[in-house]
């Protein structure tokens, strides 16, 4: 209980109200009273509730394993300065900054976040955040649908399968159909097939992810971009590993008009899937279609610099059923964490982290190849790669597990044609020892004739 009420308080307050008891105050109609006792977890004093939760936490054995899991959630180094700052109560316990005069700090931090996302993506503006990468894609598709008035959307099969599934959930609501562009053999989107589809059908938008779900750089080339432009579709870049933005050519540079991304990599705990932080960045042309909060810089009544939530005529609390989105609460605190992460790392640190991810993942690639396992794709990759183990991936992953290693994701879960393939991630936190352990285990379990 976190309530301050003494018996004397309750008595005095009831008297002031003019009722005799709490029951009389509540006035629950007889037919709505509880009919049975509630079945809720038991009340515990704080020290016991900690013990209880710590015991439950201990059942997450997965954290003890050497892990090469990625696929849209990445283990990166987060300096303790992030939580020391972000967990300050002024930030943590604030509501959405409706009262600008007492929210200047948070508003400025969000303005800095919007700027960081613009600098990383090369776009004109970015919103104050959406739920995560998948909903960023879905909301971007809605922007494209509203911009073009078209009811059909094109997405590459190399976009994260979970993102595509969420896109479908949202599009079902709007009766928008989705087509998927096929994969080329090098592990990127088949751009010739994509261009062909664009010549045949009018689309609201077309979405590619880079690095894509397989870790490969995957962008529109000149011919495909021309096909998108001829079609009138809005080109959308999806980013599931935001760290790659520190190394790769910006989505703006290859023609994207909207960037839909996930920034978990910037210091946000991996926490079994959330909360993370999605972002949408776009060109000035689409400014008034962007969903969610935007912070703008302005002045106060004395001409001093001030920040405020702006362009609210797009939003649900003003526009109701004609809003650009229903989003209200976003992921502000995760955006704050990401902003502080970027401020701490700086240009120099972020470049170094990106370079270390490239280095470790190439070390992983070499070790996997030396263990006699084939790398499935040849395209340039960031920090994830696909290993073809030549037998059902699930079997090999189970055998690796028995050796203390979570080897990656079984691609057969989403791509039947890659059922012998494992998606493996290496970040700056992956050690040479861990890579050696994986390689040794891989060699053991994939050896010709070895039982797994």
């Amino acid at each position: 209980m976190y309530t301050p009420h003494t018996k004397a308080d309750i008595k005095a307050m009831l008297e002031a109200i003019g009722v005799g008891s709490l029951d009389e105050l509540l006035r629950v109609p007889a037919e709505l009273k509880l009919r049975a006792p509630l079945d809720v977890v038991p009340a515990l004093p704080e020290y016991q509730l900690r013990r209880r939760m710590e015991q439950i936490a201990k059942r997450n054995d997965g954290v003890e394993y050497v892990s090469f899991l990625g696929g849209g959630a990445y283990r990166h180094y987060a300096p303790p300065a992030i939580s020391a700052l972000a967990m300050r109560g002024e930030f943590l316990t604030a509501y959405t900054p409706y009262q600008a005069e007492v929210s200047q700090g948070y508003l400025q931090a969000i303005y800095e976040w919007q700027t960081y996302i613009c600098l990383l993506t090369g776009m004109d503006l970015a919103d104050a955040s959406v739920y995560d990468g998948a909903t960023a894609l879905a909301e971007s598709a809605i922007m494209a649908i509203n911009a073009t008035g078209r009811q059909r959307f094109l997405v590459s099969r190399a976009v994260h399968p979970n993102y595509r599934a969420v896109l479908k959930t949202y599009c079902d609501g709007l009766d928008v159909a989705i087509d998927e562009a096929p994969l080329a053999d090098d592990g990127t989107t088949d751009l010739r097939a994509l261009a062909e589809m664009l010549r045949e059908t009018q689309y609201a938008g077309v979405a590619l992810q880079s690095p894509n779900f397989f870790g490969n750089v995957d962008t529109l080339d000149g011919e495909a971009l021309q096909a998108v432009r001829n079609n009138g579709a809005v080109p959308i870049a999806v980013v599931a590993e935001a760290l790659a933005l520190a190394a790769l050519a910006t989505p703006a540079s290859w023609g994207a008009q909207i960037v839909a991304g996930e920034a978990q990599s910037f210091g946000v705990p991996i926490a079994y899937g959330g909360p993370y932080v999605g972002f949408i960045a776009t060109t000035n042309e689409h400014m008034r279609r962007i969903p969610g909060r935007l912070v703008g810089k302005t002045v106060d009544n004395a001409g001093r610099t001030a920040y405020v939530l702006t362009l609210q005529a797009r939003e649900q609390h003003i526009r109701r059923e004609r809003a650009t989105s229903n989003i209200c609460t976003n992921q502000a605190h995760c955006a704050l964490i990401a902003t502080i992460y970027l401020a701490l790392m700086g240009k120099t640190g972020l470049r170094d982290v990106a370079a270390l991810n490239l280095e470790r993942s190439r070390e992983l690639a070499t070790a996997v190849a030396n263990a006699g396992v084939r790398l499935r794709f040849s395209a340039p990759f960031f920090n994830e790669l696909v290993a073809d183990v030549g037998r059902p991936a699930g079997e090999v992953l189970s055998a690796l597990r028995a050796r203390g290693v979570l080897g990656g994701l079984d691609l057969g879960r989403w791509y039947p044609e890659y059922s012998t393939c494992i998606l493996m991630a290496a970040t700056e936190l992956t050690t040479s020892g861990e890579i050696a352990k994986l390689a040794a285990a891989l060699q053991e379990v994939t050896r010709v004739g070895a039982g797994v």
Binding site: R75, T135, G274, V308, I327, Q331
Partner: protein, 488 residues
């Protein structure tokens, strides 16, 4: 001790600070990117500032000091349930076994996380009278969207695709109609009666074979209990529609009466309101979605299933609307919410809502002594006051009162909502505030109303003690400046 105004107002952007090469090092030097990838796929420049850790710490500490949270002072923001956020919840959410668990960890190595979600789900089911909860939605608005997608699919399966209307009272949160529109539903706005309630007779007039869902908040956003909710639910159900409960106001009734028993088929909770999740300056939220038995199979995937003493994520649910987010839940918030349930238990949660109602009514009668309260009757966890009369007499509006409160160290109530009350101030004290805090706020508000009558200009000029004065919102919207740019 306050600093000179010039110091307090100067707050450079992080981009205006630092020097290249100055960043504190957290990792070793990396090799040039070109040694790993072809130059044509790499970016040329990375125009981010380099700052030392000390400078970054000072910068964001300074920004935090220009931000008002519950930890700073009383936050009576109506409809937002700004109660104390217990610190133990944050400590538990950051336990390594929770914070470092990858979402793709196999189920049998994630039993702790799945147990958290299952225990939370079961407790919610009992507390609110639902058959099942999905912990997937990231916030209340997303739960609304998921619920309406469920309704759409449910009616499609029943061959009732003509059901394209969603009924929403005029006191509803803006997310209700916006969510309906995202599912292709047409919105019917229902006028509240003179008592601020939905009239069952009005409902009977609008329901029909085209009714899909009626979305309601109970108590509504005026803080008033819809005591004829059964009649409303009967009317909607007889017409073949579904009832949706917007749980933004669940703090008013938790443990005392249940939406499931009122006839609701679908509902959401905002655990960042009722269950003490910190709101974080606008999120992340957490919007569990509850359903009655006939809708369980439509819930978003994955759903946590218990088999004996083991738990697993179930993705194989053919009638599901599909997933609504990248991964399974805002899990760290599920940890916080479960810790809060353990801290209270059933009896404690029942008391929570009783004290929330007690605090609101105490403030209501005290404030009614000097400010109009358009619905002068027993309220639930919040109530509305109106500055309409005051404005006629003095020219001082609800906005001016709000800004004057900021000057006096309080967060302002929700203003100009619900839309049906002119010059509305919507006040929700929550149960974690003491009588002394409430008395202090009432005294200050009384003083402000008095000042309106004697020196209105002082209020029109407010706030003057904050780091900036009233902000030019028109300029912000007309000349959008949404990011910093390097000066050329």
């Amino acid at each position: 001790m306050s600093a000179p105004v010039s110091d307090r107002t100067a707050s450079p952007l992080i981009f205006e600070l630092g020097q290249e090469g100055r960043a504190t090092r957290y990792v070793e030097h990396g090799k040039p990117l070109q040694s790993f990838m072809p130059a044509n796929v790499l970016r040329d420049d990375l125009p981010l500032p380099d700052n030392t850790e000390l400078d970054v710490v000072r910068h964001y500490t300074s920004l935090s000091q220009r931000t008002f949270g519950i930890d700073v002072g009383f936050y009576p923001l109506g409809s937002c349930t700004m109660k104390h956020n217990p610190k133990v919840n944050d400590a538990l959410a950051s336990l390594r076994e929770f914070a470092e668990l990858h979402p793709f960890t196999p189920d049998d190595l994630s039993q702790g996380a799945l147990q958290v979600m299952h225990e939370l789900e079961r407790s919610f089911c009992s507390l609110f009278g639902m058959a099942a909860f999905s912990l997937n939605p990231a916030a209340g608005a997303q739960a609304e969207l998921a619920a309406l997608l469920i309704a759409k699919k449910y009616f499609r399966d029943r061959g009732e695709t003509q059901r394209d209307k969603v009924i929403v009272p005029d006191t509803a949160h803006g997310t209700n109609p916006a969510s309906a529109a995202m599912c292709g539903f047409k919105v019917i706005s229902l006028k509240s009666d003179a008592r601020g309630r939905v009239d069952p007779v009005e409902i009977r007039n609008v329901v029909g074979p085209d009714t899909a869902v009626c979305m309601m908040t109970n108590p509504n956003t005026l803080g008033l209990f819809e005591e004829r909710i059964h009649e409303i639910a009967d009317a909607v159900h007889e017409a073949g529609g579904l009832m949706y409960y917007d749980g933004a106001n669940a703090n008013a009734l938790m443990g005392n009466t249940r939406p499931g028993d009122m006839g609701f088929d679908l509902m959401h909770l905002n655990t960042h309101k009722t269950f003490t999740i910190p709101h974080g300056g606008g999120g992340a939220g957490h919007g569990p979605l509850g359903v009655a038995a006939h809708l369980v199979e439509y819930l978003p995937t994955p759903y946590v299933v218990r088999d004996g003493d083991r738990f697993r994520l179930d993705f194989d649910r053919p009638k599901s609307i599909g997933p609504v987010r990248s991964f399974w839940s805002n899990f760290a918030h599920a940890v916080r919410a479960l810790a809060y349930l353990y801290a209270n238990g059933a009896e404690g949660l029942t008391k929570v809502s009783q004290y929330a109602v007690l605090n609101a009514n105490y403030m209501r009668v005290k404030i009614a002594e000097f400010l109009e309260t358009p619905y002068p009757e027993i309220c639930r966890h919040e109530f509305v006051a109106s500055a309409q009369q005051l404005k006629k007499e003095t020219g001082v509006r609800a906005l001016d009162i709000a800004k004057a409160l900021l000057d006096r160290g309080y967060m302002a109530p929700t203003m100009y909502f619900p839309l049906i009350v002119p010059e509305c101030l919507m006040i929700e004290p929550t149960e974690t505030e003491s009588k002394e805090t409430l008395d202090g706020f009432v005294d200050v508000l009384r003083d402000i109303v008095q000042t309106a009558k004697t020196n209105p200009q002082e209020l029109l000029d407010a706030p003057v003690t904050t780091v900036v004065g009233r902000v030019d919102e028109t300029r912000a919207a007309r000349q959008p400046d949404l990011r910093w740019r390097a000066s050329r």
